[in-house]
C-alpha cells in the first residue's frame, strides 16, 4: 500500500502546476473571453484527450498522470477541458476501441479541437432503463441505412452537430441484445427533427433535454461504428467507462465546503446551525461518505493501474454518488429553512441560489445515470452473482 507519488509523477505534477499557474487564473479573475483561450492552451499542451493515443493527436498520458491532472484541475476549479463534452466522454473512447483507422482520423481530432458537438441517442420513449428493448430501426438499402424512430432524454441535441445513435439493424434478433448497431449521424441529415422537453429545474438547465425524431434518415454504411450487430457490446463498454469518480469526488468536496459555509450562516430553531448536534453530525457523516467515495475511486484506479478488473466496481461508485447527491441536495435546502424557496436571481436567495440548482438538478444525474435501483441490480447480479429477477 502506497499513496505517495513517484519522482517522475512529481515532476509531471510540477510541470503541470507551472502550466496552470500561467493559463488558469482563479474563477473570479477569469475574463469573458477566457474559455476559448483556455481551450486553445490545453489543446496545444495536449491535455484534451490526455490519455488518448498520440497517433490521433491525443496526449498519450498514463492513467496515473491523468489522475494527477484531474486532481489539479479540480482543485483549481478549472472549466471543462474541451467543448465537445459528449464527444470526449462517449464517442471518442468508443472510436478508439471500436473505430476503423479512417473513422479515428476523421472524427477524433475534430472532437479534440472542439469542432464537433456530439450527443448520444440511447433512450427511447417507453423503453427507459431496459435499454436493449430499443425500437429505432435502421434498414440496409445499398450503401446506406435508412433510420426511422425516435430517441428521448437527449441533452444538448439542439446544439449538436452529430448524434451517436443506437439502432436496431436486425428486426428479429435471437435475443434483444443482438441486432443492435451504432451509427454516427450528422444532425443536419434530412429527416431529423429535434423537440425540446421542459424539465422541472427551471434553474438554467431548463430544456436541455430533447426528443429526436428520425424519418427516413439516410446514413452511409461507413458511418457505422463497429460491426453490424455489435452495438450492445459497444454500449456496455461505454457505460462502464461512463464516469470518472475522481471528478465526482472533487465536486462533492467542493459541495461539502459550501455546506460548511452554509451551516456557518444558517440557524436551527433560531440558534447557529453549527451549534446544533444534528447538523454537525450530518456534516461529518457526509464528509465521511465523500472520503469513502474518494478512497473507493482510488482503489479502483489502483486496480486499473495494475491491469486488474476495476469496471465491475463502477456501479458501487455510482450508487454511492447517487446516495450522496440526494442527501446533500436535500440537506442544504433543509438548512436554508424557508429561504430554500428563493431561487437564483432573487436578491433574497441564499448563496446565490446554488442549492436550489443542486436541489432540483440531482434527479438528472441520479436518474439519468441509471436509477439507484438499477445500480443495485448490477451490483447484486454482476458482482455478487445473485440470480436475475
Amino acid at each position: 500500500m502506497d499513496f505517495d507519488l513517484t519522482k517522475e509523477e512529481e515532476a509531471f505534477r510540477d510541470d503541470l502546476r507551472g502550466f496552470l499557474d500561467e493559463h488558469l487564473p482563479p474563477p473570479e479573475e477569469r475574463a469573458p473571453d477566457f474559455l476559448p483561450k483556455w481551450w486553445k492552451a490545453v489543446r496545444e499542451k495536449r491535455l484534451i484527450g490526455f490519455a488518448w493515443p498520440k497517433q490521433v493527436t491525443g496526449g498519450g498520458g498514463s492513467l496515473m498522470e491523468q489522475f494527477i491532472l484531474k486532481e489539479e484541475l479540480l482543485a483549481r476549479k478549472a472549466p471543462m477541458l474541451g467543448r465537445d463534452v459528449t464527444g470526449l466522454s462517449w464517442v471518442g473512447p468508443a472510436l478508439i476501441q471500436f473505430g476503423t483507422d479512417e473513422q479515428k482520423q476523421k472524427y477524433i481530432p475534430e472532437i479534440l479541437d472542439g469542432k464537433t458537438m456530439w450527443c448520444t441517442g440511447y433512450s427511447e420513449p417507453d423503453v427507459g432503463s431496459d435499454l436493449a428493448s430499443l425500437q429505432c430501426r435502421a434498414e440496409r438499402d445499398g450503401d446506406e441505412y435508412v433510420v426511422n424512430g425516435s430517441k428521448i432524454w437527449i441533452s444538448l441535441a439542439h446544439f449538436a452537430t452529430g448524434i451517436y445513435n443506437l439502432v436496431r439493424t436486425d428486426p428479429n434478433p435471437p435475443t434483444k441484445y443482438d441486432g443492435i448497431s451504432c451509427l454516427l449521424i450528422p444532425m443536419d441529415t434530412p429527416g431529423i427533427e429535434v423537440v425540446p422537453i421542459k424539465n422541472m429545474s427551471m434553474t438554467g438547465m431548463a430544456e436541455i433535454f430533447n426528443q429526436v425524431f428520425f424519418k427516413d434518415v439516410r446514413v452511409p454504411v461507413e458511418r457505422r461504428l463497429g460491426d453490424e450487430g455489435e452495438g450492445w457490446a459497444i454500449i456496455c463498454s461505454a457505460l462502464q467507462n461512463e464516469r470518472s469518480s475522481i471528478t465526482e469526488v472533487m465536486r462533492h468536496s467542493q459541495r461539502l465546503e459550501s455546506l460548511y459555509e452554509l451551516a456557518r450562516h444558517s440557524r436551527v430553531n433560531g440558534r447557529p446551525a453549527l451549534e446544533d448536534a444534528g447538523v454537525r453530525r450530518k456534516l461529518a457523516s457526509i464528509e465521511t461518505q465523500i472520503e469513502a467515495l474518494r478512497l473507493g475511486g482510488m482503489r479502483a484506479l489502483s486496480r486499473q493501474l495494475r491491469g486488474l478488473d476495476h469496471q465491475s466496481q463502477a456501479s458501487l461508485g455510482k450508487l454511492h454518488n447517487c446516495n450522496l447527491l440526494v442527501e446533500c441536495a436535500d440537506f442544504a435546502l433543509e438548512l436554508e429553512g424557508s429561504a430554500n424557496q428563493y431561487m437564483a436571481g432573487s436578491e433574497a436567495a441564499v448563496d446565490d441560489g446554488r442549492w436550489q440548482v443542486d436541489g432540483l438538478a440531482w434527479p438528472v444525474t441520479v436518474v439519468g445515470g441509471g436509477t439507484p435501483n438499477i445500480q443495485k441490480n448490477i451490483i447484486a447480479e454482476r458482482i455478487l452473482g445473485l440470480p436475475k429477477d
Binding site: 430553531n269 424557508s338 441520479v366
Partner: protein, 375 residues
C-alpha cells in the same frame, strides 16, 4: 368513538374535490403559477361563495360555524390539487380574529375575509426564522392611542395579495412582551416585496415597517400579552400545513402508484418489482400515518385545547419529514419522466420543500415534543 368522517364531512370532501377538479385541474395550476401573484381573484371569489373562506367563522359574521375537522377536509383537498391561493394564511387570520379579537374588530374584518373581498396574511418570522417570542424584534413604540412599528418581517406568505397582516411586535424588553395587531397593507410606511419561489404555486416575501402607525383599535387583546395568541396561531398553522401536506402526499403516492402499474419494463409493469413495490408500500404507510396524526390534531383543535401543542407537533413533524422523503422516492420511481415539466411530480416535490419549514420543521416540533414533558 368514530375516527372517521361523518356523512356531512364526506359530502364536503366530495364537493371540494369536484370543484377543484373542475375549476383548478393541474393545467390551471400551471397557468396560475406563472401569473404575477399566483392568484386568481375569480377562483378566490368562488371559494368565498361556497363558504370555504369562513368555514370556522360564527354565522353572525357570515361564516359556516364548522370545526377544524371540516377545515382539514378542505385543506387536504386544496393540498392535493396544489390550489394556488392564499388560503392557509388567510384562514389563520380568520381563526385568530374569531377567538382573540374584540366584537368591534370582528365586525370590522371578518365579513370581508369571509366574503373574499379582504385577504389576510401572517407576518411573524424575522431574520432568525425562529418561532420563539425572543425572535420577535419588530419594535412597537407607544404613540398617542396606538403604536408605531419599525422593523422587518420575513418569509411572509403571498405578501402582495394580502389586504391585511396579522403582526406580532415587541412592546417591552421582557421575553414575552409581545403585542399582536392587524396592520393594513396600504398603511403609510409599509412596503412589501415578493421573490420568485421554487414552489411557484405560492409567493413569499418581506414586509418592511418604517414608522407604520397602528391604532389601539387594531390591537388584539391586552397590550403585551399577545404571545399566547401567536403560539396558538403557530399551532394552527402547523395543523393547516400538515393538512395540505396530507393531500399532496396522497396525490404523489397515487401518481407513483399509477405510473408503476402503467409503465412496463423487461416485459412487466415496474410495480411488480419489489424495488418499486416496497417503496410504494412504505409511502402508503407514511401517507396513512400522516392522515391519522392530522385528523386527530384537527379534532383536538376544536374539542380538546389542552392536547393541541403535542398533537399539532406530532402531525406537522411527521408529515413534513415524510412528504420530503416521498417526493424523492416518487422521482426515482418515475425515472426521467419525473423531472419533465409535463409530469406533475416535480410540482409536489417543490411543495414538499416549501411545506417542511412552514410553521416549524421537524427539528422545531421534535424539540418541542420533548420540551412539553418539561425536559
Amino acid at each position: 368513538m368514530n375516527f372517521g368522517l361523518s356523512d356531512e364531512q364526506e359530502l364536503l370532501r366530495a364537493e371540494v374535490r369536484k370543484f377543484l377538479g373542475d375549476r383548478c385541474p393541474i393545467d390551471t395550476v400551471r397557468l396560475l403559477a406563472e401569473t404575477e401573484h399566483a392568484h386568481s381573484p375569480e377562483l378566490w371569489k368562488q371559494l368565498a361563495e361556497l363558504g370555504w373562506l369562513g368555514m370556522i367563522v360564527p354565522e353572525q359574521y357570515g361564516g359556516s360555524d364548522l370545526g377544524w375537522v371540516e377545515l382539514a377536509v378542505l385543506l387536504i383537498e386544496t393540498g392535493r390539487s396544489l390550489l394556488p391561493a392564499p388560503l392557509v394564511a388567510s384562514t389563520l387570520v380568520v381563526a385568530t380574529l374569531v377567538d382573540a379579537a374584540s366584537d368591534e374588530e370582528r365586525e370590522r374584518w371578518l365579513p370581508g375575509l369571509v366574503d373574499g373581498s379582504t385577504i389576510g396574511s401572517v407576518a411573524i418570522l424575522e431574520e432568525s426564522e425562529s418561532w420563539t417570542p425572543t425572535a420577535i424584534g419588530l419594535r412597537g413604540e407607544p404613540d398617542r392611542d396606538g403604536f408605531v412599528l419599525t422593523g422587518c418581517k420575513r418569509f411572509v406568505s403571498d405578501p402582495m395579495t394580502a389586504d391585511l397582516f396579522l403582526v406580532p411586535f415587541r412592546t417591552g424588553d421582557g421575553e414575552r412582551e409581545i403585542t399582536v395587531a392587524v396592520v393594513e397593507s396600504e398603511s403609510d410606511g409599509l412596503s412589501r416585496k415578493s421573490f420568485p419561489s421554487m414552489d411557484r404555486t405560492r409567493r413569499m416575501g418581506d414586509v418592511l415597517f418604517e414608522g407604520v402607525r397602528v391604532p389601539a383599535s387594531q390591537v388584539l387583546g391586552p397590550v403585551g400579552e399577545g404571545w399566547p395568541v401567536v403560539a396558538r396561531l403557530i399551532d394552527r398553522g402547523a395543523v393547516a400545513t400538515a393538512a395540505e401536506i396530507c393531500g399532496a402526499a396522497e396525490a404523489l403516492h397515487r401518481l407513483s402508484l399509477e405510473y408503476a402499474m402503467d409503465r412496463k419494463q423487461f416485459g412487466r409493469p415496474i410495480g411488480a418489482f419489489q424495488g418499486i413495490k416496497h417503496p410504494l408500500a412504505e409511502m402508503y404507510l407514511e401517507v396513512e400515518s400522516s392522515k391519522s396524526l392530522l385528523y386527530y390534531a384537527a379534532w383536538v383543535l376544536t374539542h380538546r385545547p389542552d392536547e393541541v401543542p403535542r398533537a399539532a407537533s406530532c402531525a406537522k413533524a411527521y408529515a413534513s419529514e415524510k412528504f420530503v422523503r416521498i417526493g424523492v422516492d416518487a422521482i426515482q420511481i418515475h425515472g426521467a419522466v419525473g423531472y419533465t415539466d409535463d409530469c406533475p411530480v416535480h410540482l409536489y416535490f417543490k411543495r414538499a420543500k416549501w411545506a417542511r419549514p412552514s410553521y416549524g420543521d421537524s427539528n422545531y416540533h421534535f424539540d418541542r415534543i420533548v420540551g412539553l414533558r418539561g425536559l
